[in-house]
Symmetry: C2
């Protein structure tokens, strides 16, 4: 039965595309920073945005900061895997980064809002979709307040959106709770998911 021999040869871990999503303020950036700090070998896609750079952020590391014209040109040239306007700012996932990571056999992690995750799932259902959830909406509100980057009206809108986004949970393969003061637990959960999903059967096919 040479078939069985051939099947064995094809087994083994393989790189994956993980999409990390969740409501605004839940801590997606904090989790990804921590993963970057820990030096994991995954390629974390740097999102392009038109929003203003916040203190402590670095262009090209936290985001690729673009003016509206440059962003619009990339939209026109189909250079984004997915893009969206969120509360007046634009965000886009650069296709070239994802392509390069896949071509080099690296795991790739994409940050996206819930609507963006839905779009990416249509393009590549073989990705691993993770929803980062707050322990409660009270906690989410507190985090958004501490961030102090939003006016009260924006804050209310973000909380309302966050509640709506809970309806989209069935899109996701995993829901990881980012509990208060337990960022490392969420990071460890994500790392386990990446390690585990490399062995998922049947093997996933990544393409763009």
């Amino acid at each position: 039965m040479p078939d069985a021999d051939r099947v064995l040869k094809q087994l083994g871990p393989q790189p994956l595309m993980m999409v990390l999503s969740g409501p605004s303020g839940v801590g997606k950036d904090a989790v990804l920073s921590r993963i970057r700090e820990l030096g994991y070998p995954q390629h974390i896609v740097v999102t392009a945005t038109t929003r203003a750079m916040r203190p402590m952020e670095t262009n090209g590391v936290d985001y690729i900061f673009l003016d509206q014209d440059a962003f619009d040109k990339k939209v026109t040239d189909h250079e984004f895997l997915e893009w969206a306007e969120v509360y007046g700012n634009f965000y886009g996932v650069p296709k070239d980064q994802v392509r390069e990571a896949i071509a080099s056999g690296q795991d790739v992690i994409i940050k996206a809002d819930v609507q963006g995750a839905a779009t990416i799932k249509k393009l590549n259902p073989h990705g691993v979709f993770v929803f980062l959830a707050p322990p409660s909406f009270d906690e989410l509100e507190q985090r958004l307040r501490i961030r102090k980057t939003e006016a009260q009206i924006d804050l209310d809108r973000r909380l309302e959106t966050a509640r709506d986004e809970m309806q989209q949970l069935p899109l996701f393969d995993y829901v990881v709770v980012n509990a208060d003061g337990a960022l490392d637990d969420a990071v460890a959960a994500l790392e386990s998911i990446i390690q585990a999903e490399r062995w998922r059967f049947p093997r996933r096919t990544l393409s763009l």
Copy 2:
């Protein structure tokens, strides 16, 4: 939207039932011994068997060694989740151990041959099914030879069965290769799968 609040409260890691399967000689016992040594908190079900104890094995730790009458009585009393005759010896998964682990909120790991895994999947499709694969059939043959517990005719039969079992791969959620000299990698893969699957969505319901 109180619904969204309620959904959040129900999230979080939850214990799982993992079924570890794979061909005879692939290293299921070695992997589980290592997991036991490392002191992971999972409950590893101790299989009951009528086969003779091998050197280095401990009754109640590696297997529960029973004579044929005692085994048959447990079959009659429906005390096995699953049982089978394999090459003239009988093996059974004690239901009480699985029930106790689930009731205490522990992860539970069950070792089963491929046919047994299929039976357990029918009883509880919410389990996580892992196939431990050899890197090649040549390697599997060598391992069975080193074990020296089988006559040549048994060895050939086991290898033939192993090839047949490859047809059952679609039963499994993960296929982990137990490469030569890389037992710790297989153990790490299993540990990642356990950690990751606790966050799987939708949440699994374990029952027996």
